[in-house]
Amino acid sequence: MSALLEVRDLVKTFGVGDAATRVLRGLSLTLEAGEMAALLGPSGSGKSTLLTILGTLMKPSSGGYTMLGQDLIAAQDSELTAFRNLHIGFVFQFHNLLPDFTALENVIFPTAVREGRETPSARARGRDLLVRMGLEERINFPSVKLSGGQKQRVAVARALMNGPELVLADEPTGNLDRVSAMQVMDLIAQINREEGTTFLISTHDEKIADLCRRRIVVGDGLVTG
């Protein structure tokens, strides 16, 4: 396996002066292509902070970040937007879907926003992904009417829409009951096996972490295990 991404000596400080909080204190991490890793650590340890930095939604205070051979620290906002669109998928815990759009419209958003319109081929791929997530009955359902578990499966489908190398999931099952959580995790594991997509999943749930082949534990702003 080759390195998909590498972060070196990440420091992230929020606020200034006495109010400053050092969340990341020189964290280094390498993710190989095709990995499925759980991100563990106590609340407030900086898991979400790390995921948003890896997702190029936020820049670290200092440190290096390269993914697919590109220096993502030096990149401009517009370059990062395009990079995210093509190479990184997200699954968040809350506020995942656009409420005024159907399941399918949500799934194909990443392709439509790049191509400037919803193409038939994008629709076909979106439908395939939703079928794969077991949502063939809900393809044209308004997203607000979906259950929590269905919403997260739509979010996973959307994260995969542009065939990204990396999917970052921040407590994707945090809101779900055990059955729904396992359903979502099984789908993620299946995609990881079949497509080789790299997943980094933050969670507090040991059972979820057990489904991942690697465990990354953060504490005190560093990787501790």
């Binding site: 997702g55 517009s78 995210r84 968040f92 656009l98 926003v113 319109r117 542009n162 921040d170």
Partner: protein, 401 residues
């Protein structure tokens, strides 16, 4: 961008009641704009028709020749010729100019006239009158004499006279009876009363008489030329420029009606200013309404904007989504406001039928296109601030992990 348009329309249709209210608000603003345009335009039209409608729009008058003065080489005035009691000045070659002036663009009618003063006597009654000699057929070219007739006809001819109701009463004169008219130059002729008018203008009904141009020639001993040329235009607002053109063409001193109407023009101008003021306020209201509604929507949709940004939507895309919403609201509000304004103005009389006591709303002066265009531009301008706020939304805090 088609996709941004789709998202913008979806946002607008997602909260139908809110969008409908917003569009209605914009439409009311547009309605006020159109109503004000029609009212100010109609009022100006009405006032002008009332005050200038019966006047000559451009007048060419024979220049009274200045009395000669004989001055010695030392500068003393040696002799002064008294100003003649009878005006002898005339536009001698008027005949050649009349067709030329009639050919000028915007000219509706050209009426060569001979005017002068005289006395009308019937039995012991004597009245001082102003005589206007008009070419038969052109009686109603300037003043709508036909429209004011109460008895007989306005049609002039040899030996005929048309005069006002008041004068007829003063002289106890009835249609078909004869009356003696003596000019200030002493020439007299006996004329038959063929028509009586009532304009409502006291002075005019009391002391103006109309005869044919040939009768006037005899009375004022003017075998050729005229003393005055009155010109009626299709658009009385074009008087200044048309007068200049006639001056250039003929070398005659063509005077537009506006020359003596500075106060009227000032009043109309002030009225138009008031109109602009109110219309500007209507537009400002629209802009503020649209801006605040969109700003609220931006705030409400922060998490979604964050999601879109995370999924690879650029700042430009987000700006486009919100500006498009503004443009759509402006367009819908503009169109419905214009339709509303037009249908509200339909029941009012047209500009030719304005009457005192009713609002002179001119449906043709609603500036519908301008209202719609300004509203769309205003709504787009109003959406820029919310759109920029939306584009600045930080995905991390908006998604609220």
């Amino acid at each position: 961008m088609l996709y941004a348009l789709k998202i913008a329309t979806r946002y607008l249709t997602a909260s139908k009641a809110q969008t409908a209210l917003l569009v209605l608000g914009v439409a009311v603003g547009v309605f006020i704009f159109i109503f004000m345009s029609a009212l100010i335009g109609g009022l100006a039209e009405f006032i002008l028709a009332r005050t200038v409608g019966d006047l000559s729009h451009i007048t060419i008058e024979a220049e009274a020749v200045d009395p000669a003065i004989l001055i010695s080489p030392e500068g003393h005035v040696l002799a002064v010729v008294e100003k003649a009691r009878v005006r002898t000045a005339s536009l001698a070659d008027a005949e050649t100019f009349v067709p030329l002036i009639a050919g000028v663009a915007g000219v509706n009618a050209v009426s060569p006239q001979i005017t002068g003063a005289g006395f009308m006597t019937r039995g012991a009654q004597v009245s001082q009158v102003g005589v206007t000699g008009v070419e038969p057929g052109l009686e109603s070219a300037i003043l709508d004499l036909d429209g004011y007739m109460v008895q007989g006809t306005a049609r002039l001819g040899a030996g005929l006279v048309v005069l006002g109701q008041k004068l007829a009463d003063d002289l106890a004169l009835r249609l078909g009876q004869t009356v003696r008219l003596q000019s200030s130059g002493g020439v007299a002729s006996v004329l038959t009363l063929s028509g009586i008018y009532a304009t409502g203008n006291g002075r005019m009904d009391e002391s103006s008489v109309f005869v044919s141009l040939s009768t006037a020639r005899t009375l004022f001993a003017l075998p050729q030329g005229v003393t005055r040329i009155e010109i009626k235009l299709r658009d009385l607002n074009a008087a200044d420029t048309t007068a200049l053109r006639i001056r250039a063409l003929t070398g005659l001193d063509a005077v537009p009606w506006t020359d003596g109407a500075a106060q009227l023009m000032e009043a109309l101008d002030a009225q138009a200013q008031t109109g602009y003021f109110l219309k500007t306020f209507a537009l400002i209201t629209i802009v503020i309404g649209v801006a605040s509604a969109l700003l609220l929507s931006t705030y409400r949709r922060r998490p979604e904007i964050g999601i879109m940004r995370a999924m690879g939507a650029g700042r430009g895309f987000v700006i486009f989504v919100f500006v498009t919403q503004g443009a759509l609201i402006g367009l819908m509000g503009g169109l419905s406001g214009a339709a509303l304004g037009y249908s509200a103005l339909l029941p009012f009389p047209t500009r030719d039928a304005f009457r005192a006591g009713t609002l002179p709303l001119d449906i043709t002066q609603g500036s519908y296109g301008l209202a719609i265009a300004l509203t769309v531009i205003g709504a787009i301008a109003a959406s820029i601030l919310p759109a920029r706020a939306a584009a600045r939304v930080d995905p991390v805090t908006a998604i609220g992990q």
